[in-house]
Symmetry: none
Subunit: 416 residues, 2 copies
């Protein structure tokens, strides 16, 4: 059982966008134990698409199409597949109501070509689109499974995770169960983590251990196969235990979690509220914490204090502190964290100040960062880190470090 991913869209062949869908689906299919042998990209051209389908049918049992399900004339994926398989397109009433509702809710006029999005290939199983209008679909014919997914990653990814992967698991699991678990690490580099566990990676094929790095984090994906799911799960537990013995202190979460989600969990559990005074990070910490549904029980608000005059006037940092130590200093980070907690009336105040670049500031090099943490009833702590990436990457990592330090600190108190 192996798969080919066919992306349909001239914008890919013109280099207007990158084929990130192929990457996402490849990772997902690997997790399901399905080998991917080819990716193909073809333009909005029915004849070339049909030739790509014919080639894929020769070499893959599962063919996943991305893109070309939209309302416009150059969207022709389902039309071409339907014709190729000798099937008709039929109106899916559920999808049509969804589209009509979308236009009603947003007070927009529904144009006629939007109805086209609700057409599906007859006999296919419809995959609902919870984040857009065009539904996906899956159908089987002969030895092949055909899956059609929409092009925008924000629609494709949740659709595959919610609906598509289950259909494919069912195809695979007739023989054996495949279970996987992602371990998430922070504060250790990919090569350091790999060096610590290289013998485990090399000496076992079930479960497999696959490292992946990105945005300052490293993940290990463990994948076990067994006819009995309970056995496969215990194989994962065993491998995880071995890894924890080597690098357990850097493990912070599992699967699709994030440092911010873990921090949110800890705060909710301890019924603590938090605020932030953000200079370097410009609101990123607050934007991320409020992106989690239900944030209002732990977060009431905070301040972005980009300029020194705002640090002084709004967050009440002493003029003396700014003159003597500068804005990028332990002292400033401490006052920002403490004052923010006081002004916003929260249990915890966190502050981020540093040199974003591209130029040094106050004689301090790009990448110098201070994170202040004021926790009610405890002395304020300031952590200094030094980052080497470009501007935006440094801001993202700074927020992650802030979450990581705070989680560790709050867990410490739990243990004492």
């Amino acid at each position: 059982m192996n798969a080919e991913i066919i992306a349909v869209g001239s914008e890919l062949l013109l280099g207007q966008i990158v084929n990130t869908n192929a990457r996402f689906l490849s990772q997902q299919l690997a997790g399901l134990g399905i080998d991917v042998f080819f990716h193909t990209v073809v333009g909005d051209n029915a004849n070339r698409l049909e030739s790509a389908i014919e080639i894929a049918e020769q070499r893959a049992s599962i063919i996943i199409f991305t893109g070309g399900l939209g309302p416009t004339k150059d969207d022709l994926t389902k039309e071409t597949i339907a014709r190729h398989l000798g099937k008709r397109l039929v109106m899916d009433e559920a999808a049509l109501s969804g589209i009509e509702l979308f236009f009603k809710r947003t007070n927009r006029q529904m144009t006629e070509n939007n109805r086209k999005q609700a057409l599906v290939i007859e006999g296919s199983r419809v995959l609902p689109n919870d984040h857009g209008m065009a539904p996906g679909m899956v159908l089987k014919k002969g030895q092949h499974v055909y899956m059609l997914l929409p092009g925008p990653p924000k629609e494709l990814e949740p659709m595959f995770l919610q609906y598509g992967s289950k259909v494919l698991s069912a195809e695979v699991e007739s023989n054996h169960k495949i279970v996987s678990r992602v371990l998430r690490f922070f504060g250790i580099g990919e090569s350091a983590l790999e060096t610590a566990i290289i013998d485990l990676i090399d000496n076992q094929s079930n479960p497999t251990i696959a490292p992946l790095a990105g945005d300052g984090e490293v993940t290990l994906r463990l994948t076990a196969k067994h006819t009995d799911e309970a056995v496969a799960l215990s194989m994962l537990d065993e491998a995880e235990d071995k890894i924890k013995q080597r690098a357990g202190e850097f493990l912070y979460g599992y699967n699709n979690s994030s440092l911010l989600e873990e921090l949110t969990k800890v705060l909710k559990k301890k019924r603590l509220t938090i605020t932030a005074a953000e200079s370097l990070t410009g609101g990123l910490f607050q934007q991320e914490i409020t992106s989690i549904s239900g944030a209002s029980s732990i977060f009431k608000g905070g301040v972005v204090c980009y300029a020194n005059e705002i640090k002084q006037q709004v967050v009440q940092v002493k003029q003396e502190t700014l003159e003597k130590y500068g804005a990028v200093s332990e002292q400033c980070a401490q006052e920002l964290a403490e004052n923010a907690a006081r002004i916003f009336g929260t249990d915890i105040g966190i502050s981020f100040t540093g040199v974003a670049g591209p130029d040094p500031l106050e004689g301090k090099p790009v990448g110098t960062v201070y994170i202040g943490m004021s926790i009610k009833g405890r002395p304020t702590v300031v952590e200094k880190i030094t980052l080497g990436g470009p501007r935006e990457a440094n801001r993202i990592r700074t927020v992650k470090y802030g979450c990581y330090f705070l989680i560790k600190r709050l867990q410490e108190s739990q243990n004492t």
Copy 2:
């Protein structure tokens, strides 16, 4: 004359990396007037690579390979192509000296497998690698041109720009230039825009007009071909003018611009400073504005006022306003925008308040959003929008709407 790009590497099929080389080369080939009809990705497997070569020979005259030129055992691109074409591999002395020099310069021990990188297909033209060890190569056989490039983008990109593109330009006999331009629209849906210009899309093939939608925006890519680049550019101008007559009010920028960049440009030009009071958007507007290098001349800071108590205590919204109209109201948006501008001492205050979901708030449905804009010397304006997406998408669109409204308002003053 058309091309196919074959990327070789199992890491692509496992989803460990994204195929950015295909994007880069597609953009470059479009610039040279060479159509790309297919991208293929194949793993480190000689048989499957050879089958991909055979397929590409049926449908393309130029075949560009990326990756698989390195020193390890799974690098087999040139070996497979050589065997397929009945050619031998020969040592390229210039490449070998380069590799030896590289190890000398970095004080590292050269291992035997590194010599393998200096092997090239006999009769090929060698493309020097100025940023790594494995050389590229080009050879012609029959009707086909085969170009082999290294996988790492930092080696591939300069090699193609410096050496590869010249070889291909020489192949392009017709010698026509292809120029393209992306028009960026906001405030109009993809299908509505297409409906407005459908006759232009249908009735002309040079320039072509290709719509693409994503994140609440729609873009049109115009692509023109002509032997004279100046003529091709004036063809783009002409098509753009026709489109502007239909939907010019929604056009906000070109190519890789964004609404936030356009807003930043307008503010800098008019020497205006801005602050924000963000409830719904939780800091997203401020995070984005500070992600642009040099933001400090227009943005000093702002506030995230997620809870009503912060709106009242920190941003000084009247208790009466919150009691009578609620936080999601025109009145609250107005006070937030005006008070933020006063507290942070800026020319402009923008506020975002609304119902993020998943549940309704104050009896107002999910997606109800008010954006307040206070501009010095002008009456405050509040815009109401209704969004239908999920939580995170609504926040992103809200910030885009805020930028869009503000740009329009600031441009109005320019015209009067």
